[in-house]
């Protein structure tokens, strides 16, 4: 039986590689592959070979940076592992299962194969993916180059970590499934487990309290702080025992030399081995859960191939009321805004997504606290303002560049319904305008928030004499006026790409992996960025010229207003041309032919 499994895996892998190389004959894949190869060479391989900032650190700085990085990585990985396990207990799946493909289920489940053999097959298959991920992570991140140790040892360390997490999650799911079947007090078990996890987190927090302050605010700067941190970790018996399981697993990864690695490897391997025995010895029934998982994945794949967006978290859409009343008479474009906002609410704003957003916001807030306190204590006033200003600027830039790739409630979402849209009695540009209104509104709202935040954070103390409230308010209003046009123009780009190169777009939306797919997506991102610059240049140039020509005579505020008028006119013209072209191309678009 092992021979049959090995044949399946090896033959599939070989054919997959041959197929991947074969499709490089198609320009869309070849270009993607070349682009990705160039990206990897420039940003990864050159760093791995020693060319880059890491190589420029002095030994002392490198050691400090290394210790800090090790501690931070340790803490983050422990946290991820803990959260994953806690989630499995808090929200166990209805039917736990191991992940098999539909074909594996169809062939292997009815075959004369023992349950134990199926589990071995699944666990060993996952190992191939884990080995590849470990190698990739090692190459991409290179552990900063300054932690020491050979890259192969580092990759083995990652393999230990990823295998342990994978096995632990599978084992937990199977154990919970068995408890649910066998135990009349399943809820009590879960409550007890969650309570134990909370107690553990509380114990770690108490044992580690004071660490952050000791590191950040003690005498001697960050280098001495790092020393204090490491000593505290060693001296604290509570922390030592509480973090022992995690430190055993992380030991090989954090080892800086061969001897240290050798000492850490065997205990870590033993942990992996124990997990493997735990999962492979499970008596839980996984077949139904595996079938449910496979069906869900196949449905998602089919949805993406049809051009539909995979729903976040795989949740079902919900019937919701419209965002506002839609009377039967009025501009048809508003109907599209209504429809697309409705679909966005149904798709995105579920409890799980809101929970994730709130959780991340809370985590960021608490994570920033020690930093902000430290900087304030060392006399660096205005730090919060600078931080807010920086965050707002970054958020605005990301919204303009990446936002159009994420906010897809436009023609891209409605591609499967292209035929239906084309029967509507609307000119192409009006249809395009209608479809773009919803994502434009969303991106504009985000940008407006960043503008207001930046305006509030810029020079709160009033040190800049020229930045009066009138000037500040005028600048905010003018930026707010230009924002929707800029967002709409940015959204035209990905929609045009979809219409002009639908086969490219369809393949980039598929969940297929591979370096060429990565390259394609990267290429689309670069095109978006270049277009953003191209669009902004005429408007920015006009704004500067008009402002310079007018402010010395009419004052700053009037200069800003006139510059904004110039910007708005240019952006409006660009948007009008873009919409007309998009609409015109959409009218000629033939879904049945162009996606072959």
């Amino acid at each position: 039986m092992f021979g049959a499994f090995l044949y399946l895996r090896v033959t599939s892998l070989r054919n997959q590689v041959v197929h991947r190389f074969g499709r490089l004959r198609q320009p869309k894949y070849l270009l993607g592959a070349l682009f990705a190869a160039a990206y990897f060479y420039y940003f990864v391989i050159r760093r791995v070979s020693g060319v880059g900032a890491a190589a420029a650190l002095t030994p002392g700085t490198a050691q400090t940076a290394g210790m800090l990085a090790a501690g931070l990585i340790c803490a983050v990985l422990c946290l991820i592992g803990l959260v994953r396990v806690a989630y499995a207990w808090i929200a166990p799946p209805e039917k736990a299962g191991l992940v098999f493909t539909e074909a594996e289920i169809a062939f292997l489940f009815p075959a004369p194969v023992t349950r134990r053999a199926l589990i071995h097959f699944r666990l060993l298959s996952t190992q191939m993916a884990i080995l590849f991920s470990a190698a990739l992570i090692t190459v991409v991140f290179n552990r900063g180059g300054y932690l020491g140790g050979h890259r192969v040892l580092h990759a083995v360390g990652w393999w230990i970590i990823l295998s342990t997490i994978d096995l632990h999650v599978n084992g937990t799911n199977l154990m919970l499934s068995r408890l649910r079947e066998r135990s009349a007090h399943f809820l009590l078990w879960r409550v007890a487990a969650v309570a134990a996890i909370i107690l553990y987190v509380a114990a770690v927090y108490l044992a580690a309290s004071g660490l952050a302050d000791s590191f950040l605010n003690g005498p001697g700067g960050m280098s001495a702080g790092a020393d204090r941190l490491v000593r505290h970790l060693h001296d604290s018996a509570a922390l030592y025992w509480l973090t022992l399981p995690f430190r055993i697993v992380l030991g090989p990864y954090l080892a800086t030399g061969y001897r240290e690695f050798a000492l850490a490897f065997l205990p870590a391997l033993a942990v992996v081995g124990l997990h493997y025995l735990w999962v492979s010895g499970s008596e839980a029934r996984f077949e139904e859960g595996s079938i449910a998982i496979a069906e869900k994945r196949a449905a998602m794949r089919a949805a993406v191939q049809r051009g539909e967006s995979p729903r976040i978290g795989g949740s079902k859409p919900k019937a919701l009321a419209g965002p506002f009343p839609l009377p039967p008479r009025g501009l048809p474009e508003v109907a599209f805004l209504w429809k697309n906002l409705l679909s966005l609410r149904s798709a995105v704003f579920g409890r799980r997504t809101l929970g994730i957003v709130i959780g991340v916001a809370v985590w960021v807030y608490f994570a920033m606290q020690p930093l902000m306190r430290g900087r304030a204590a060392s006399g660096q006033g205005g730090v919060l303002g600078i931080a807010v200003l920086t965050c707002c600027a970054i958020a605005a830039a990301y919204t303009l560049i990446l936002g159009p790739q994420i906010a897809r409630q436009d023609l891209r979402n409605d591609l499967p319904n292209a035929d239906l849209l084309k029967t509507f009695p609307l000119e192409g540009w009006r249809l395009a305008l209608g479809e773009l209104l919803a994502p434009t509104a969303i991106l504009t709202a985000i940008i407006w928030v960043t503008i207001i935040g930046a305006a509030a954070a810029l020079d709160p103390g009033g040190a800049l004499a020229w930045l009066t409230p009138v000037v500040r308010g005028t600048v905010v209003l003018c930026l707010a006026l230009a924002a929707p046009l800029l967002c709409m123009i940015q959204l035209i780009v990905p929609n045009l790409v979809m219409i002009l190169m639908p086969a490219w777009y369809q393949s980039s939306r598929s969940r297929a992996g591979g370096i060429e797919m990565f390259g394609q997506r990267l290429l689309f991102g670069v095109v978006q960025l270049l277009f953003a610059v191209l669009v902004a240049v005429p408007a920015a140039g006009a704004a500067v010229l008009v402002y310079i020509a007018s402010y010395w005579l009419l004052g700053i505020s009037t200069g800003v207003v006139l510059a904004t008028v110039a910007v708005v006119l240019i952006l409006a013209g660009e948007a009008a041309v873009g919409l007309w072209f998009l609409g015109e191309r959409f009218e000629k678009f033939d879904l049945s032919v162009d996606t072959r």
Partner: protein, 243 residues
């Protein structure tokens, strides 16, 4: 009224539809038949303005489709073989949306009897994901009929319908034709065409091989025989194969 003059659609060197001419007057139901790949769906998509034709002219209710596509589309409705709906709009919201697109001021009064007729009234607040294929088809029909089109194109309209749904669909097509609509109906179900259609057009490899009333086409290919079925007529007209 539907007036088509020398409609041609080419994809590169391949001609999907070649110089097709037809006229469908108000009250007529034209059955469009042909083997697989004959160009039926391509023809319908050209007439509905979904894809542009390579050459030829199409007039829908007096509006030229090329020069006045908006006016033409306001008068027509296209019912595809595969129901395409918006995942996040309920049945009621679909009708609301379509009403706004077509400017149907009294859509609520029109929607109520439509939903009753199509047995969708109880599913008015349900998403398409929770509807069966047949019900999705009915929702597409409801959306298409809301603005009372004078021209209708049906591509395999009975797929996925249960026997009662089939009966109601046939009755609905006939009734609307009697009320003055011009209808083109593409289907492989020849008995449907015999029951519903006033005229038949047979396509083979993009070329019209027969066009006229059902009786005229039967006479053309019956070779003088009596009681020849439409199936036999079709096989004789198309040469009995797809190639």
């Amino acid at each position: 009224m539907i007036e088509v003059e020398a409609l041609t659609k080419q994809y590169g060197s391949f001609t999907a539809v070649r110089s097709l001419s037809l006229t469908v007057r108000p009250g007529e139901v034209l059955g469009l038949v042909g083997p697989n790949g004959a160009g039926k769906t391509t023809t319908l998509r050209c007439l509905a303005g979904i894809i542009p034709s390579t050459s030829g002219s199409v007039r829908i209710a007096g509006h030229d489709l090329a020069s006045d596509p908006v006016g033409a589309k306001r008068a027509l409705a296209f019912f595809p073989d595969e129901p395409r709906l918006f995942d996040y709009l309920t049945v009621r919201q679909h009708l609301n949306f379509v009403a706004r697109i077509y400017g149907v001021a009294d859509y609520e009064e029109r929607a109520r009897p439509l939903l009753e007729e199509l047995e969708l009234a109880e599913k008015a607040d349900v998403l398409p994901g929770e509807l069966s294929r047949g019900m999705k088809q009915k929702l597409v029909i409801a959306c298409g009929l809301l603005h009372s089109p004078s021209v209708m194109f049906f591509d395999e309209p009975l797929t996925g319908l249960d026997p009662l749904g089939i009966r109601r669909m046939k009755d609905s097509i006939v009734r609307r034709a009697r009320e003055g609509a011009a209808v083109i109906l593409s289907s492989h179900l020849l008995h449907l065409l015999q029951e519903v259609c006033t005229n038949v057009l047979i396509l083979k490899k993009g070329v019209k091989v027969a066009d006229g009333t059902v009786a005229e086409v039967e006479a053309q290919f019956s070779n003088g025989e009596a009681n020849v079925s439409l199936e036999e007529i079709f096989i004789r007209a198309t040469g009995g194969s797809e190639s």
